[in-house]
């Protein structure tokens, strides 16, 4: 038999082409269905009375005035819900020693952060519920809040949860090679302290849920804006004491998520409990202020780090301390320990040094909870590692690009185990950086930089090379005991008219999942893409799967879809061979028709085949039982993760008089394995870069020492906006992973991962004539003026 080349390589493959998004037109026309668009009969709306204090004891709660307001249907404190819902604890078995306190949906005697819900009010409108929330009277005894991560473990700092013994959530270290010897023998040592600012993912559609419980059959339907419908189904079932099969999660259009919508939130769980109490649909839509004080925050880290180089510029060792101050709880079920884990796994990831030490601590604070947000740990790890490389280059008087090229893991060393224990299948750092330098005309920019400086314009060029965790296997969460699936599935059904319906466990939140699944199915099966309809986000309709997080949609969901396409094709050809009285191996499917494998003569359309299979079984042999629905699942088991890599560069000007930064241009060369849709990869990268520029220049959740967040509005919390964003040029290098046939890796987070580092390095490059080095994000005009000694 002839060995055929993969369908992926055929000229009519949809894989590798920028096909348009089938859902884009509908969304642009305003015909999307977000949770708040759904109106159910007898639905009530929730609002919460939330704590104004970061840490306090609740002495009494008076709900009488609230209850008396016309339109109020129910008022609930935690005591009212305890018979309906069980508490949770955000720990995972494989994060050794991680601890957290029992968390209830509403405050249980004490409040631990400003914004924590205390009383839930259900009313016939949200406005009435808010009127009632204003009438709740709570008597507090204020407790000393713990708000400084650097003193959270001190003896005289109050312990937030006395039952835990201290404020330490999680601790992990790595000590690989001989770090002390490396520093002793180093020709050059560079060191800096970093401050990474607490920030959050700002979604256009806030967290939203409708809980519709029907007492008659004991079924709970949840309409949610979420990235992981099956995880939500499991958690609501478990904590509300329902059979998992009685809980259905329907997730229609999602207006952005960025990792915000993969966690357990008190107010959403309370909505579930209240739906059970009331037997009426309960809607909760977080408003912007609620979002700022309760959507997970991320990245609040203080790092000190140093790197050792030999006289030739070889990186010998990295040594770092990382402290991160999370909220009063580790978030359930993914925990607030993963970000530190990622920092440890990723810092210095592209480089060949064998000596590596990290001491990492995660401490509890009386601030909003922190957990996994787009890029999880990457922005910190990459900023630290890449800043040290730039400092090293400066001290060694080497070009930063040359220093990186010299220190990348040699191309023949893969698969490679890093000193942190991460295994890289194959990376393309040299190729990506070479391509980047060419794209940006690095030499030209350096000479331009020189001449601009003479005119008093301080332009900076900053680089970042990075690795990104994608396509996780069960080692990420499953082994730790969390019911978060690392596998995903795809079911394909050939419909009687020849169309194909694909249902998949991975989800769409604006990034184009449905598009790429359609591309993969159409290619794998051999049908026109217009005939493939993709269904996502309904636990009753799609195979059980993990959803979309950790950049897994294309790599895991895509492979399942690819294998499903192959399997359905086999079944179709089985039947076609019977109908056509031909041999299976002589047939193929191209363009939605069964054709002769040799020559491509059209033999039978899939519509005709469908008609016969579904309606004219009488014309088939007695033993022919066509199977035109198939499901395939995929788990990536070869590695804990499949790492991608990328090279970034940022060009910007710093106005040394005002401290203002003007971004000029940004370049990325990204290797996410096989590129399914170049435009979607580029747009994911651009969006990611913008989301990484955010914390470098603008975004920060500002807290007072008393634990009050003081910029919880879109006027005061500055998200990156179009006017300030540079043109972002994206190039691709393709190193398909051999862990799957499709060969796709993830791309969702790499932009966010690299941009803070590239921006920081560019600012420092711009300021290099002044011998100023800044590493305290975000780089506000105030901080830059201070660094320059102007104030």
């Amino acid at each position: 038999m002839n060995k055929r080349i993969s369908v992926l390589d055929l000229p009519n493959s949809y894989v590798g082409k920028s096909v348009p998004r089938p859902n884009a037109k509908r969304l642009v026309q305003g015909r999307g269905t977000y949770v708040d668009d759904i109106e159910l009969p007898r639905m009530v709306h929730l609002a919460f009375h939330r704590s104004p204090y970061a840490h306090a004891k609740i002495l009494s709660v008076d709900c009488d005035d609230a209850r008396a307001i016309p339109g109020v249907v129910g008022v609930y404190t935690m005591d009212d819900l305890k018979d309906t819902i069980t508490p949770w604890v955000g720990t995972l078995d494989h994060l050794k020693g991680i601890k957290s306190a029992e968390q209830w949906p509403l405050a249980n005697g004490k409040v631990f952060w400003q914004g924590e819900p205390i009383v839930a009010i259900a009313a016939t409108s949200r406005a009435i519920a808010e009127d009632a929330a204003d009438q709740i009277l709570v008597d507090y005894e204020e407790l000393e809040p713990v708000t400084d991560m650097m003193t959270a473990l001190d003896k005289d700092t109050p312990v937030i949860h006395p039952e835990l013994g201290d404020n330490l959530c999680f601790q992990r270290g790595v000590d690989s090679g001989d770090v002390d010897a490396a520093f002793e023998n180093a020709a050059v040592v560079v060191e800096d302290s970093f401050r990474f600012n607490r920030h959050t993912g700002v979604t256009m559609e806030p967290r939203s849920i409708i809980c519709d419980y029907k007492p008659a059959d004991g079924e709970l339907t949840l309409y949610m804006s979420v990235q992981c419908p099956h995880m939500s189904k499991n958690l609501f079932a478990e904590h509300l004491g329902l059979d998992e099969n009685k809980v259905r999660v329907i997730c229609k259009d999602v207006g952005g998520s960025f990792g915000i919508k993969i966690h357990t939130y008190s107010d959403e769980m309370a909505a579930g409990a209240i739906a059970l109490k009331l037997g009426r649909p309960v809607k909760f839509i977080a408003d912007r202020l609620e979002s700022f004080t309760t959507d997970i925050h991320a990245r609040d880290h203080r790092v000190t780090a140093r790197a050792a180089f030999d006289a030739d510029g070889n990186l010998l060792a990295i040594d770092m301390d990382d402290v991160t101050g999370v909220g009063p709880y580790s978030v359930y079920p993914r925990t607030s320990g993963i970000e530190l884990n990622q920092v440890i796994n990723l810092t210095g990831g592209p480089y060949k040094h064998r000596n590596y030490r990290v001491d990492g601590k995660v401490v509890f604070l009386n601030k909003n909870v922190m957990c996994q947000y787009r890029g999880v740990g990457h922005p910190i790890a990459i900023a630290v590692g890449e800043h040290l490389m730039e400092l090293g280059a400066r001290k060694l008087k080497l070009d930063p690009v040359a220093l990186r090229l010299q220190n990348f893991i040699p191309q023949d060393a893969y698969p490679y185990t890093s000193p942190a224990g991460a295994i890289y299948e194959m990376q393309s750092h040299h190729q990506c950086l070479d391509k980047l330098v060419e794209m940006m005309d690095y030499e030209g920019l350096r000479s331009e930089q020189k001449s601009l400086r003479e005119q008093g314009i301080y332009r900076g060029i900053g680089f970042a090379s990075l690795i990104e965790v994608t396509n996780p296997g069960p080692a990420f969460y499953g082994v730790g005991g969390a019911k978060i699936a690392s596998q995903d599935g795809c079911t394909l059904r050939l419909d009687p008219t020849g169309g194909v319906t694909a249902t998949t466990g991975v989800t769409e939140q604006g990034q184009g999942t449905e598009t790429i699944i359609a591309q993969v199915v159409a290619t794998s099966l051999g049908v026109p893409i217009e005939t493939v309809r993709v269904v996502t986000g309904d636990t009753e309709a799609v195979p059980y799967g993990g959803g979309t997080w950790a950049s897994r949609g294309a790599g895991i969901g895509g492979e399942a879809a690819f294998q499903a396409g192959k399997a359905l094709k086999e079944n179709i050809l089985d039947l076609a061979a019977i109908i056509l009285q031909a041999k299976i191996e002589d047939l193929d499917i191209i363009g939605g028709n069964v054709v002769d494998a040799d020559g491509g003569n059209e033999r039978l359309s899939l519509a005709e085949l469908g008609r016969i299979a579904y309606f004219r079984g009488d014309t088939l042999p007695v033993d022919a039982q066509p199977e035109l629905v198939v499901t395939r699942h995929y788990t990536q088991r070869d590695y804990p993760f499949v790492f991608t890599n990328a090279a970034h560069a940022c060009l910007l000007d710093v106005d040394i008089h005002t401290g203002m930064v003007k971004l000029q241009k940004y370049w990325v060369v990204e290797d996410c394995g096989r590129v399914i849709n170049p435009k979607l990869v580029a747009e994911q990268t651009r969006g990611g870069v913008v989301q990484g520029i955010g914390p470098a220049l603008f975004e920060e959740c500002l807290y007072t020492d008393e634990g009050q967040m003081i910029n919880g509005s879109m006027a005061d919390y500055l998200v990156p906006m179009a006017a300030e964003m540079p043109d972002i040029e994206v190039g691709h290098v393709e190193t398909p992973t051999e862990t799957s046939e499709l060969g796709a890796k993830g791309v969702g987070e790499a932009g966010t991962a690299g941009a803070p580092a590239a921006v920081m390095n560019a600012i420092n490059d711009a300021l290099s004539p002044f011998d100023v080095v800044l590493s305290d994000m975000p780089f506000t005009p105030d901080k830059i003026l201070r660094g320059l000694g102007k104030i």
Binding site: D131, L289, G659, L697, P781, L785
Partner: protein, 289 residues
């Protein structure tokens, strides 16, 4: 973020509006463009019981030339002001300021008078009003009165308007020969509240400034003139203006407040940069002319 329950009244005449305001006192608020009031209501920071929609009142609309000066109706939308050729001719300072006011969607609804009455210390238009020496035309139950620019805003979010008074229009005097204007603000993002801003307006005659108003905003409780600095500019040949001394004198006039991310010291540096840029531009233009 839902407002408390309120009544909405749309009136067709100033007298009707004043009647509603008289009836409800400070429980009533005038709804102009709603770009600050409505968000404040949604946050329940403003809790009016009655909103008086004045968009149908004819006298509050229109940009006209009257008695050689410019009259801008209080209900003129920012977008209309920004595009107005009359304003560009008579008060180019305002035209320069307009693109800095928020974003297109907000400028389509937000109004000239609404911004002045809101008296936000970081707003652009109160600074322009002060720099241009405009007159505010006000009507209330006691009839009409006119108020000079420096008397209209008397504090943060506070004006001289009493509960039953409405700002009807603003008169901008005709520009003198030799008038020069400059506007610049420093904001972290385009459309944001500025960290510091400067509206400058002066008159250049025979190689000297006979008048100069440097009005800073987003640095104090309200837009504020830097009088000591202004004095160092007027009445001397351009070549003798000591820009360093002018910049140093700003500290005698203003101690900037800090905002969430910008310290007082940084704001002072920014004010000095804006002053230097303004004067360098004026002097260069003056030298050419």
């Amino acid at each position: 973020m839902k407002p408390n329950s309120f009544e909405y009244v749309r009136v067709d005449t100033l007298n009707d509006a004043i009647a509603v305001l008289q009836e409800h006192g400070d429980d009533a608020r005038i709804l102009a463009g709603g770009q600050s009031l409505i968000p404040a209501m949604n946050m329940r920071l403003a809790l009016p019981e009655v909103l008086v929609d004045v968009s149908n009142i004819g006298e509050m609309h229109g940009i006209t030339i009257q008695d050689g000066g410019l009259r801008i109706g209080a209900m003129s939308r920012h977008a209309e002001v920004m595009k107005s050729s009359k304003i560009a001719e008579y008060a180019p300072l305002i035209t320069m300021a307009m693109p800095n006011i928020a974003h297109g969607a907000i400028r389509n609804r937000g109004t000239f008078g609404g911004s002045l009455c809101n008296a936000d210390p970081a707003a652009e238009l109160p600074a322009c009003a002060l720099a241009l020496g405009v007159t505010f035309n006000i009507q209330g139950s006691d009839g009409t009165r006119s108020v000079a620019a420096e008397d209209f805003i008397d504090g943060t979010y506070s004006t001289c308007l009493s509960d039953d008074e409405i700002l009807v229009s603003v008169d901008v005097p005709a520009p003198e020969a030799g008038a020069v204007s400059f506007f610049e603000e420093l904001a972290r993002r385009k459309g944001d509240y500025a960290m510091a801003g400067l509206a400058a307006h002066g008159v250049l005659k025979d190689g000297q400034f006979t008048d100069m108003r440097l009005v800073f905003f987003a640095v104090d409780e309200m837009a504020v003139r830097a009088s000591s600095a202004e004095q160092l500019i007027c009445g001397k040949p351009l070549s003798e203006i000591d820009i360093d001394a002018v910049c140093a004198a700003l500290a005698d006039d203003i101690t900037p407040f800090e905002d969430l991310t910008t310290s007082s010291a940084a704001k002072m540096v920014m004010m000095q940069v804006l002053t230097r840029r303004t004067l360098e531009k004026f002097i260069a233009e003056g030298a050419v002319n």
